[in-house]
């Protein structure tokens, strides 16, 4: 079920009503059933795949506590391999076999490409990673194995974050299913406001920009350099608002029910370096890779060569996690390269700024660093969004060609649509900037009802009237 669907507009109030009306013991069953309904609204059969992952890691968790020594490690590896195998079959089989066939053809070998003809279950990568974090944490002794199957299944399937995160850790979420969450007016209103903000990002910003981006990236060769540039900048905002909007709705939905999910984004385009960007972008995934890939590889406590290797491996896998395509892998590696280069050049850049007397807190220095980071991020997004490496290559080589200011529109995005699109981006940035200094949400809460309600109503109507509802899916569902 999509958050931005009429079905969810009925589903959520019903679930909330039942949740607060039911006694504590029954609530977990309600959440599990609601999560199943939510997930089955996409393709009902997919729930079986989810069930397999849940059973594997539930059993693994319990046995990881019972066994010791080498058997424990073997059990961990078996459970990780089994969980990842599901992901491999559904997400990566075609990619790896296709790549192998392509590679073989370079040597003149004729290999038939085996096909499974299956579609990727929605959000598979998210709940796979959430399950993996559970078994690893149990293995490390940071988390007790969950004996209650209903609670464990709800932990993996909790509908607010089931299909696109945030990817939770068991230490944060599992215990919350045992807590009693009373109806708390302020918390519920806070959750609803967070949801409204997420809907603004998704419907008003992301989905309008998506119209332009889809037109240009579907046929980059039919568009001039300025359109390619605009589409790339638009995509940067589209993917941010799409994904962080989803996270806001997820966090808000959970908060209404009394759950606290981890934050996933912290205005990443205000970062002054690529490293900072990655600490503020998709934080639940970044920390997942840090904790379960980068640190076990040796992290930063090794020599510079191994550290660089660790960064590249981590980002390469992160790229592959995003999609079974070489464009994603290269996108990940490019970000790794950015990090290595910025780590090497950091002292030089600092010295350059020092030479022109721009201290660390100087606004111009900050603006230059933010702009530079944004440019590098956009350049990487080209790889992420392009349909093929050839398309990405075309965009990189034609960015600066034939800038025609007279013809900015595309087939489905008229010139008039730039007004709501740009206005939405400006409003987004203004609110984000103001919010860092003065928490707007709290300010509004303190207003008298006679002002507060019209403000809320105005915002809801603006989202409804200026939203775009045609490109329904959230980008990150496909991962």
């Amino acid at each position: 079920m999509l958050f931005n669907s009429i079905e969810f507009a009925f589903f959520f109030p019903i679930v909330c009503g039942l949740y607060f009306a039911l006694p504590q013991a029954a609530r977990i069953y309600l959440l599990l059933v609601a999560s199943c309904v939510f997930y089955m609204a996409f393709v009902p059969a997919y729930i079986l795949i989810l069930a397999i992952t849940i059973v594997i890691d539930y059993v693994a968790g319990i046995y990881l506590e019972r066994v010791a020594g080498r058997a424990r490690t073997v059990l961990l590896v078996v459970s990780i391999v089994a969980t990842c195998l599901v992901l491999f079959v559904f997400k990566y089989f075609a990619f790896f076999t296709g790549s192998f066939v392509g590679f073989a053809s370079l040597f003149g070998w004729k290999v038939t490409n085996p096909t499974l003809d299956i579609i990727l279950p929605i959000g598979l990568s998210f709940h796979t990673f959430q399950s993996l974090s559970y078994v690893v944490e149990v293995y490390r002794g940071h988390q007790k194995a969950e004996r209650d199957f209903t609670i464990y299944a709800t932990y993996v399937m909790f509908f607010p974050q089931l299909v696109a995160g945030p990817i939770e850790r068991p230490q944060n979420l599992l215990g919350q299913f045992r807590e009693y969450h009373a109806f708390d007016y302020l918390r519920v209103v806070g959750g609803l406001k967070r949801m409204a903000w997420g809907f603004f990002k998704k419907l008003v910003v992301a989905d309008r920009l998506a119209i332009y981006v889809n037109d240009v990236y579907a046929a980059p060769q039919s568009h001039h350099g300025l359109q390619l540039t605009i589409a790339t900048v638009f995509f940067a905002y589209q993917i941010y608002c799409d994904f962080s909007g989803y996270s806001d709705i997820a966090i808000g939905t959970a908060r209404v029910l009394g759950f606290k999910l981890m934050e996933n984004f912290d205005t990443p385009y205000h970062s002054r370096s690529v490293g900072e960007f990655w600490r503020r972008w998709h934080m639940s995934l970044s920390t997942w890779f840090r904790d379960y890939v980068y640190v076990p590889l040796g992290g930063s406590r090794v020599g510079p060569i191994r550290r660089a290797r660790n960064i590249l491996v981590t980002f390469g896998i992160s790229g592959l996690w995003h999609g079974a395509n070489w464009t994603y892998v290269l996108w990940g590696v490019l970000n790794g390269v950015y990090l290595i280069v910025s780590w090497i050049t950091q002292p030089i850049v600092a010295r350059l700024f020092g030479a022109v007397r721009l201290r660390e807190d100087h606004p111009l220095r900050q603006a230059l660093l933010i702009a530079g980071t944004f440019f590098l991020t956009c350049a990487a997004w080209v790889l992420f969004r392009a349909q093929s490496l050839a398309d990405a290559g075309y965009i990189y080589t034609h960015w600066l060609h034939d800038w025609n200011w007279q013809s900015l529109a595309t087939a489905n995005f008229s010139e008039r649509q730039f007004i709501p699109a740009l206005a939405a981006v400006v409003i987004l940035e203004l609110i984000q900037v103001i919010n860092r200094r003065v928490p707007l949400g709290e300010k509004v809460t303190r207003l008298p009802t006679v002002l507060r309600w019209p403000a809320y109503a105005g915002f809801i109507f603006a989202v409804i009237l200026f939203g775009v509802y045609r490109s329904n899916q959230f980008i990150y569902f496909q991962f």
Binding site: I6, F20, A182, F183, Y185, L186, V188, V189, L192, I211, Q417, P420, W453, Y456, A457, I460, F461, I464, L465, G467, V468, Y469, R470
Partner: protein, 361 residues
């Protein structure tokens, strides 16, 4: 032992039990009220939002129905019963941009109106004609424009420009047809703002609000006709390259039945019907692989029903690229020439049947 009714009730007495229950119930009520403190405010807020949404929807619909220009103006004339023309042209965008009612009027001496609607198929065109007949005096002649895809019905999810229909969903024929094609139309009608916000990228609701201030959209319609002052674009070359060895338009039984229904509708209403295949750029005609099959179906229908078919696809106009802006649509010059050619033929062949106006000319 007698019970003194004026004594304070003892715990064992029924009155005491009632009172205890009532106290317990009050206390439970207070607990519940405390437990859900603030819920009423949330419910009231969303009830207010729902009421405002209904109000806003009604305001936009009423505003759009006040418009007297553009396509809304044309449709408002139709549902307001203010057209009452002698000749009515029905069809898709090809009808919309090909038939100039002013020329038809000039040549025949009869009043004329164009009902053509962008991207409509025969099923929706039939509903539009029914709606017209429901509100207006029956015309003397209905011209139904045909095209290669006449027998293709509207697919689910492909109703073009939904907000154009939303203000008129109380029209039974139109609503029934659209809701049958796509059940989402029920949401357009019954969920406030759905049709204007969810289905619309063009901010049609703004037009509805502006109409209350007397601000009308730009007038680009003349008696339902929408002339296009455009030059030939490269669309056709791209289209030709895309379709390769041509394309096929299905002759759907439902499409054939819709045209049959349209013929029956005119017959029952006692209205003369003329089927016209308006000019189509000659190179595009060759791209339709089953053109013969489509025309055979047209001929079968005309033979069965006796309704005449005038085919202008072989007209000299169809060979002049300068009269089209794409392979299917004549520009304003082409539309003028075609309307003149059609009117002359109407005058010549229908003079007796269409009554005084045509005879007078």
């Amino acid at each position: 032992m007698s019970v003194r009714h004026d004594s304070p009730p003892s715990p064992a007495s029924p009155a005491a039990t009632d009172s205890a229950e009532s106290n317990a119930s009050r206390s439970h009520g207070r607990r519940a009220a405390r437990r859900f403190s603030g819920l009423g405010r949330i419910v009231a807020f969303f009830a207010l939002i729902a009421a405002l949404a209904y109000g806003f929807d009604a305001l936009v619909t009423a505003g759009l129905r006040r418009i007297s220009t553009s396509k809304f103006g044309a449709l408002n004339q139709v549902v307001g019963g203010r057209v009452n023309a002698d000749i009515v042209v029905n069809g898709s965008s090809r009808a919309l941009v090909h038939y100039d009612p002013r020329i038809l009027e000039q040549e025949t001496g009869l009043t004329a109106f164009n009902l053509g609607m962008n991207a409509t198929h025969i099923d929706v065109q039939l509903a539009i004609l029914r709606t017209y007949l429901r509100h207006n005096r029956k015309p003397r002649l209905v011209i139904q424009n045909l095209e290669a895809f006449t027998f293709v019905t509207t697919r689910k999810g492909e109703i073009y420009d939904p907000p154009l229909y939303v203000p008129y969903l109380d029209e039974p024929e139109l609503y029934r047809t659209l809701a049958t094609i796509d059940p989402v139309v029920r949401k357009w009608r019954y969920i406030p703002m759905y049709g204007y916000a969810i289905e619309d990228l063009r901010f049609t609701w703004v037009r509805g609000l502006l109409a209350w201030g007397g601000i009308q959209p730009w007038e680009d319609y003349i008696k339902g006709f929408n002339p296009r002052n455009l030059q030939w674009t490269e669309d056709f070359e791209r289209f030709k390259a895309a379709v390769g060895d041509g394309l096929t338009y299905e002759v759907e039984p439902a499409g054939v039945q819709a045209l049959r229904d349209l013929i029956a509708l005119c017959r029952e209403a006692g209205v003369e019907l003329l089927l016209v295949y308006s000019p189509e750029y000659f190179e595009a005609q060759g791209l339709v692989r089953n053109r013969e099959e489509i025309f055979a179906a047209f001929r079968r229908l005309t033979a069965e029903t006796g309704v005449p078919l005038w085919d202008f696809s072989g007209s000299t106009l169809a060979r002049r690229r300068d009269l089209f802006y794409n392979s299917q649509h004549l520009n304003v010059t082409g539309a003028t020439l075609f309307s003149q050619e059609l009117s002359r033929r109407l005058r010549d062949e229908y003079a007796g049947r269409l009554g005084k106006g045509a005879e007078r000319r």
